[in-house]
């Protein structure tokens, strides 16, 4: 302390020297910088420059400079001699806030002479202000506040800046005593967003807070509702109605409220559910209050959407709920004056006044009735809490009710025994002994106890029955024995149960129960159960009860059935899914794709086309998308069959040209009516030379196919026949068949063949194919053909459905087809016939033959 004082004196001296007398007495040098502000913890370097004349006077130079800080000499290691006249000192990690730094010179005789001194001020740059927020107190100007961050130890100015998108407002400079808030100079304009931020600045720096953008109406703190008043309702004693006047903000924004209440004298507030007061209003009815009780209320409000601030609480207001009838009868007692005379006695009845929470209002009086045994009653109305009456020596029953403005309480009843009442107590009868304390100010609450003079076993046993019977358990229930038959205190019950053949089992049950669950029963069994009740003196059995446990527990069947059904459903679903995924494979095996002849076209049907082995593929199915192909098919079949006599076939073919129309049409008819048209036209145009493309192509194929490759002929026949399965499975047989046909035997193999393909639509086509080949190859074999037809029809009957379907399609196509030409019409009729003919599926092929005109030929 003394050090500090002496230092202060020294400093004062220096300042006097350098300050006031400075002009007169020139200092020996100076320190640069003059008045530094340094950040705490940083390094600082000062330079002391000596004047030449001074140096000469004292015979010193920069080497003689000694630095002192707060009266202590700074070690030489921190000095730097810059030149003859200047030396610097570096202070590391400046820690103290205000430091005096003095430059001295060491003159002759080791005397220290002050040259110059400075005050080193240190502190911190301002931190970025955080948590900037604003509040608009209703009717006042906006105030913003923030968290300034750490202490800077320096004078720091905070400036609140605000602007609209279109306009800037005047800055708000904080006052020195409130550096963390500022109240702007203007009234805020509601419903226009503004942007606000704070700038903090001191000698070491300047920072800006985050900008906040808001609508001042969302920062409003409304004035509290005022003139709160409370009124009660005569109709309902449990409600109070509050009314108040809202602040003027209600004209600008919608409000919500917070209402609290408590009974007078209570310390904790109860809260009205906020959702009940979530909109602008000026009254509210509080419910579920106690009657005739004083409540205190207070209310506050804020913007409905919860933006902004709650107002202050309003002034408290109180109100008393309306009265209700007393909720409890007063307890009372009597006193009999022992000095009774002339058969009368003086009885004083006394009672306690009801406490307020039971009186539910101001008690206006008490009503007493006295009823002599089997006689009319006497009424008394009393304001006091006691009544003295003269009674005869008989037994009386007294009742007492309390009355207030709303109604009267329930009656409490008291028996005044007869004067000569003598205690005769019977055995095995239950007596209720009641003791009522009587204090100076009235009776207290009575206590009762049950007692027997002497107990006996019950005169009847309890009747047991089942409440619920399960597979392995049964819930038994029974009624308490009536007091008349108890003959004592029931201490416990015993339940006996047994099956038809089994041993009896006994279970003891506490007397407080009226229900018991027997467990570990066997299902589907007859049980006999009975029950005995015991007093201290013994027990008595009740009647026996029988019940049968069911075979299945409740829900057991469902528990089995439901999972099974679910499992079945799941399996089915999985099966369907599997089938769906493997549909191609399944279809291949069971329901192969058959190319639709009606969709075939000639373009692909060339000798260079490789043999179509895979008829299942959709591509091929759809590639055959032209009708002409159909007519081609049969003719090729002809070719095949006719390959031993190639030319002959051609001749035949030519011969048949007239009938070819029929021929082709027959095929067309069988497959699709409209499909026959090209071939019809071709036959119409030219008999001898088949000019139509279809005919030409077709014959070309036949020749080349045949001449170059015998096996390929077969392949073509397949493709023509559009019979995929045959292609893959029956080729050798087919070949054989063809041979057989020629050889006019092999009926059996053919049958087999058809049977195998019975399920396919194409069967008939194939048949027709064979038919035709037959016909073409040997017209004379008509009979044979017929025989075959029969067979075929017999076979195809079994698989007629598919063919039927085809026919329906055909007829439908027909209906839409033009079919104006004569042959077309003929076809049509043929088709019609086919449809009408019940054996049409069978006669499908034969019809071809007929239409082909072979039969007549």
């Amino acid at each position: 302390m003394s050090v500090l004082q002496s230092w202060l004196v020294q400093a004062l001296f220096i300042f006097l020297i350098t300050g006031s007398i400075g002009e007169l007495i020139d200092p020996c040098g100076h320190i640069s910088p003059e008045s530094p502000v340094v950040q705490l913890g940083s390094n600082f370097t000062a330079v002391c420059v000596l004047k030449e004349d001074c140096m000469d006077y004292y015979h010193v130079n920069a080497n003689f400079i000694v630095w002192k800080i707060s009266h202590f000499t700074i070690p030489k290691e921190q000095y730097t001699i810059i030149n003859k006249t200047a030396a610097s000192v570096t202070l590391t990690d400046v820690a103290s806030l205000n430091t005096q730094l003095i430059c001295n010179i060491l003159t002759f005789g080791q005397l220290e002479q002050n040259v110059y001194g400075i005050t080193l001020i240190s502190g911190l740059p301002p931190e970025k202000p955080k948590n900037l927020n604003c509040i608009v107190n209703e009717g006042r100007k906006m105030k913003c506040y923030w968290d300034p961050g750490r202490e800077t130890y320096l004078e720091t100015n905070f400036t609140l800046k605000s602007e609209w998108a279109t306009e800037k407002f005047a800055d708000c400079k904080t006052k020195r005593d409130t550096p963390t808030s500022c109240t702007v100079d203007y009234s805020p304009v509601y419903f226009v967003n503004m942007e606000v931020w704070v700038e903090a600045e001191n000698a070491l720096g300047k920072v800006t807070s985050d900008h906040i953008n808001f609508d001042p109406v969302d920062k409003v703190k409304p004035n509290a509702p005022h003139n709160l008043s409370v009124s009660n309702s005569e109709e309902l004693s449990s409600i109070l109605k509050l009314t108040w006047i809202n602040s003027n903000m209600k004209n600008v924004i919608r409000l919500k409220y917070d209402i609290q209440y408590r009974t007078k004298g209570a310390s904790t507030w109860s809260q009205i559910p906020p959702e009940d007061t979530a909109s602008t209003r000026s009254s509210f009815t509080v419910q579920d209050l106690k009657p005739f009780t004083e409540y205190v209320f207070r209310i506050r409000c804020m913007k409905e959407d919860g933006k902004g601030f709650w107002s202050d609480w309003s002034e408290e207001a109180s109100g008393i709920t309306y009265e209700d009838r007393p909720s409890k009868a007063p307890s009372f007692w009597y006193k009999i004056d022992p000095s009774h005379t002339h058969g009368y006695r003086s009885v004083q009845l006394m009672w306690k006044t009801l406490p307020p929470f039971e009186a539910n209002g101001k008690i206006l009086g008490y009503e007493v009735t006295l009823t002599r045994w089997k006689s009319r009653l006497q009424n008394y109305t009393v304001n006091d809490s006691k009544l003295t009456v003269n009674l005869t020596n008989d037994r009386y029953i007294a009742t007492l009710t309390a009355r207030n403005a709303v109604g009267r309480s329930d009656a409490s009843v008291l028996t005044i025994p007869a004067c000569d009442f003598q205690g005769y107590l019977a055995e095995s009868k239950c007596y209720l002994i009641t003791v009522t304390p009587v204090y100076a100010d009235g009776p207290g609450s009575p206590e009762s106890v049950k007692a027997y003079l002497k107990q006996a076993p019950p005169s009847k046993g309890p009747t047991v029955r089942t409440k619920k019977v399960g597979k392995n358990e049964a819930v038994l229930e029974w009624d308490q024995l009536p007091v008349d038959v108890q003959n004592g205190f029931i201490r416990n019950y015993t339940i006996f149960y047994r099956t038809n053949i089994g041993n009896e089992t006994a279970v003891n049950v506490d007397s407080s129960h009226t229900e018991y669950t027997l467990s570990s029963l066997t299902s589907d069994t007859l049980y006999m159960v009975r029950m005995a009740a015991y007093t201290d003196e013994g027990g008595k059995d009740g009647p026996e009860f029988t019940f049968t446990t069911p075979k299945f527990a409740q829900g057991e069947i469902e528990a089995i059935v439901v999972p099974v059904c679910l499992a079945f459903l799941l399996t089915t679903l999985l099966g369907v899914l599997f089938c769906f995924n493997k549909r191609d494979l399944i279809k291949k095996h069971i329901w192969p794709n058959v190319p639709d002849p009606s969709k075939s076209h000639i373009a692909q049907w060339s000798p260079h086309t490789p043999p179509r082995h895979n008829f299942n593929s959709k591509d091929q199915m759809y590639s055959d998308g032209n009708f002409t192909d159909v007519s081609v098919v049969e003719i090729e079949a002809n070719d095949k069959k006719a390959f031993p006599e190639d030319l002959k076939t051609l001749e035949l073919f030519k011969k048949e040209k007239v009938s070819t129309e029929g021929h082709s049409s027959g095929i067309g008819g069988s497959s699709c009516m409209s499909s026959s048209r090209p071939s019809i036209s071709s036959s119409d145009e030219n008999e001898s030379a088949q000019n139509t493309s279809s005919t030409v192509q077709y014959s070309t194929v036949v020749h080349s196919g045949y001449r170059h490759q015998v096996p390929s002929v077969q392949v073509f026949s397949r493709s023509e026949s559009t019979q995929p399965l045959l292609d893959s499975e029956e080729r050798p047989e087919d070949l054989q068949l063809v041979d057989n046909v020629d050889g006019s035997d092999g009926i059996l193999p053919r049958q087999q063949y058809f049977k195998q393909n019975c399920s396919q639509h194409e069967t008939s086509q194939d048949i027709s194919h064979f038919e035709r080949s037959n016909q073409v190859s040997s017209v004379n074999e008509e009979d044979f053909v017929r025989l075959k037809q029969q067979q075929i029809s017999g076979i195809s009957q079994s698989c007629g459905s598919g063919q039927m379907k085809m026919f329906q399609e055909v007829s439908a196509a027909d209906a839409f087809g033009p079919g104006t030409e004569g042959q077309g019409e003929r076809f049509k009729t043929a088709g019609m016939e086919a449809v009408l003919d019940e054996g049409m599926p069978k006669s499908y092929l034969p019809q071809t033959v007929r239409q082909g005109g072979y039969m007549p030929q």
Partner: protein
Amino acid sequence: MDMSWDSWGMLACLCTVLWHLPAVPALNRTGDPGPGPSIQKTYDLTRYLEHQLRSLAGTYLNYLGPPFNEPDFNPPRLGADTLPRATVNLEVWRSLNDKLRLTQNYEAYSHLLCYLRGLNRQAATAELRRSLAHFCTSLQGLLGSIAGVMATLGYPLPQPLPGTEPTWTPGPAHSDFLQKMDDFWLLKELQTWLWRSAKDFNRLKKKMQPPAAAVTLHLEAHGF
């Protein structure tokens, strides 16, 4: 078997898609709110200003004294022709397009604001000056709000024609009574304009809501 796994995968994928559907950003549009909120705010502001003007006009007319503060005082509109008129034929008003509607509002308030500032300079009592100043600021805010709405909708702000900039010139020819008459009409016209603007922005508000819903629906459909 691959096939079946594929279909299970597809099923799982479908379920995942359905599950995450509510999270599809297109369905939870929280981005640009559009002009709706700013129109709503402007509407609220006109209602607030209307309310504010009611008390201000009462005070100011009292300051002007009788007969201006008499409730049934209804003078002819003399010399107030420079004031923008709020009254308009209902059919014309209905047929206004958004741009024109907003432009008319903007122009009217820029003019009214200039006149009002003149009024402020003449007001005698400090309290009245303060009220007028605050009302001017609020009106400035309304102007900014309208400009904001116009910017949101992509309409250019009307440029004041040179020479038509209204200035408050207390004409020497004006007698004191006529001057007060002008003040009276300025307040009256302001009131009418605020009524009209509330209607204008209510209309705009209603008009802007359905398209927003349609956009949402469209996006939902797109999301599906």
